[in-house]
């Protein structure tokens, strides 16, 4: 007969992976996944319409200036994914990593096992990252397949696509860590998270000085591989890129934010007492 008796807690990485195993299915099959599919489905549907119009020879909206399919794709990556889908999904998932288990009253089963609470947070975070990547990245690829061939070549932009996918995955990782911290420390994490994304980040990016360095979006700008189109409304958006950090600054900045936020979130979870309603 095999023994289940041990005397020392398994390491954080092992425990986090086991919590990940336990959480991934529930996260993928939750109602939030439907919400996530809707959020990332919007650019796919828009791309589908544009492509269908192009294929049918209908009234395709003319891209102005030097805007071709690949450029519009780059714009969609920035506007739809980097500045909207990624932070929104991170807010909804990241703030609820532990809160969902508390609300479902299943957190008890994890907290009475011989693993650190830090590893519970880390495992839940990994499950969030995999489940969002699993849904968001295929949507990006679909948009790429639909939009880039309109005046562009898929083959020529494969490298840019791979960089876009990496940027979006990095965005999910960093925003997720930030909102995991928000979820672990404040009373109304969803409100705080939405204010951070649609209030603070928008204002801070537009302000002169170093405020923008206190946003995630600023560092993500330095990773975007696309040249923005010129002309009219697109120009306004492209101005955001007038002061972008270097690649190295972006990578270091995002790494520091992600690791720092995760460490603080894990400490908060370890010290907090969770009182479940009976």
């Amino acid at each position: 007969m095999t023994s289940t008796r041990r005397s020392r807690s398994p390491g954080t990485a092992y425990a986090a992976l086991r919590v990940f195993d336990l959480s991934l299915g529930g996260m993928l099959w939750s109602r939030r996944t439907v919400f996530m599919a809707l959020v990332v489905g919007l650019p796919v549907v828009l791309s589908l319409v544009l492509r269908a119009l192009a294929e049918l020879g209908g009234p395709v909206p003319r891209f102005r200036g030097d805007a071709t399919g690949p450029t519009v794709f780059g714009l969609m990556i920035w506007a739809f994914f980097v500045r909207f889908s990624v932070p929104v999904l991170a807010v909804f998932y990241g703030t609820s990593l532990i809160a969902d288990e508390v609300e479902d009253k299943t957190i008890t089963y994890l907290f009475v096992r011989p693993i650190s609470r830090e590893s519970v947070l880390l495992g839940k975070y990994l499950a969030y990252l995999v489940s969002t990547i699993f849904v968001v990245l295929p949507a990006v690829v679909l948009v790429w397949l639909l939009i880039v061939p309109i005046g562009g070549s898929l083959g020529a932009s494969v490298f840019d696509l791979s960089k876009d996918l990496a940027v979006i995955a990095a965005g999910l990782a960093v925003y997720g860590a930030v909102f995991a911290l928000v979820g672990a420390t404040v009373r109304r994490p969803l409100v705080v998270g939405l204010v951070f994304v649609f209030g603070w980040e928008v204002v801070a990016l537009a302000m002169p000085g170093s405020f923008r360095m206190m946003t995630v979006a600023y560092y993500m700008q330095g990773l975007i591989p696309h040249a923005m189109p010129t002309g009219s409304a697109l120009d306004i958006i492209s101005r955001v890129f007038t002061e972008t950090p270097t690649l190295a600054t972006s990578v270091v900045g995002m790494s520091v934010i992600a690791v720092g936020a995760l460490v603080l979130a894990a400490r908060a979870v370890a010290r907090r007492e969770y009182v479940l309603d009976q």
């Binding site: 289940t4 299943t106 009475v112 096992r113 011989p114 693993i115």
Partner: protein
């Protein structure tokens, strides 16, 4: 004298301005100990403190000789069955138990074997590969017990483990708890029903309003309890058939129907529960889905104890 499994020294717990537990000093010996008190008495707070889910606001507590708050290693030696009916509904019972015991550092194959043993010991092996969401109330209670015992702990802490179980499930679970104790394990079990506790142990802690009112032998308060009628809610497929049978019995003081339930007051709960279990086992009275007992009668006893 044997080493106590639980020692609390002037432990208090406040939720803001509200007191959940007030200056509790107890020493719980090995074996089975029942924590008896009405809802809101502080049982759940006590259970959460001794399982390390909450930190005492004041005082010290040790479980198996070790502090419990932020001490994950202790959970190798401790198994906890919480009160709440909460699960990963999409998982099968076997998957869930195996996934939880893997958190103890057990490899995949050993975890599955341990999960199967645990499911077998709570008589759930035949439904081990069914989703928990499809389990009956009694099965859900038992799968919770299985996750508490799967790693073979020295001390089991069970919060209202019989709540909502049918009579046969109760009898089976009580037998199981006693068997664990016979194997040298210790059990702390909470309930608001004296007869449940009494069927497992004579050693009790009586708790009310966040204070331990009495500790020791259950028989000392037994006579007091018996002076008060005991109310039982029975949800059954054929409540009228059960009612017919009970109307003729001397141990039933009153009987009435409420939506979805037959409500019986009895002056001799032990005899009542024994005969009900026999009736259900006979199969002649349909299915009894659940048995519950409100706090009213126990609350009356507590009032009496506090006054005296």
């Amino acid at each position: 004298m044997s080493t106590p499994v639980l020692v609390t020294d002037h432990v208090s717990k406040w939720y803001g301005q509200v007191s959940g537990l007030n200056d509790v000093t107890v020493s719980v010996p090995p074996g089975i100990t029942g924590l008896l008190g009405p809802n809101g008495a502080g049982k759940s707070t006590f259970m959460k403190l001794i399982t390390g889910q909450l930190r005492p606001s004041k005082g010290q507590l040790t479980v198996l000789g070790e502090p419990v708050w932020q001490n994950p290693n202790l959970y190798f030696r401790l198994g906890f069955c919480p009160e709440q009916d909460a699960f990963y509904e999409r998982m099968t019972g076997l998957e869930w138990i195996a996934a939880l015991v893997r958190l103890n550092g057990v490899g995949e194959r050993d975890a599955l074997a341990a999960a199967e043993r645990a499911m077998a010991s709570v008589d759930l092996l035949d439904v081990a590969k069914k989703r928990i969401g499809a389990y009956s109330k009694g099965m859900r209670q038992r799968v919770k017990l299985a996750q508490a015992i799967v790693h073979d702990p020295e001390l089991l802490i069970l919060d209202e483990p019989l709540s909502g179980m049918d009579p046969i499930g109760r009898r089976r679970t009580i037998r199981m708890i006693r068997e664990w104790a016979r194997q040298g394990k210790s059990v702390i079990v909470s309930s608001h029903i004296l007869h449940e506790i009494e069927s497992m142990t004579a050693n009790i802690l009586l708790i009310n309003n966040g204070r331990i009112l009495a500790e020791g032998n259950v028989h000392q308060i037994r006579d007091l309890i018996d002076e008060h009628p005991h109310t039982v809610y029975i949800r059954a497929s054929d409540p009228r058939r059960l009612a017919q049978e009970f109307l003729a019995r001397a141990d039933v003081i009153s009987l009435r129907f409420e939506p979805g339930a037959l409500v019986i007051e009895t002056g001799t709960p032990d005899a009542f529960y024994a005969s009900l279990t026999d009736m259900v086992a006979s199969g002649e009275y349909g299915v009894v889905e659940s048995l519950t007992s409100p706090d009213d009668n126990l609350q009356a006893v507590f009032k009496y104890l506090v006054k005296s």
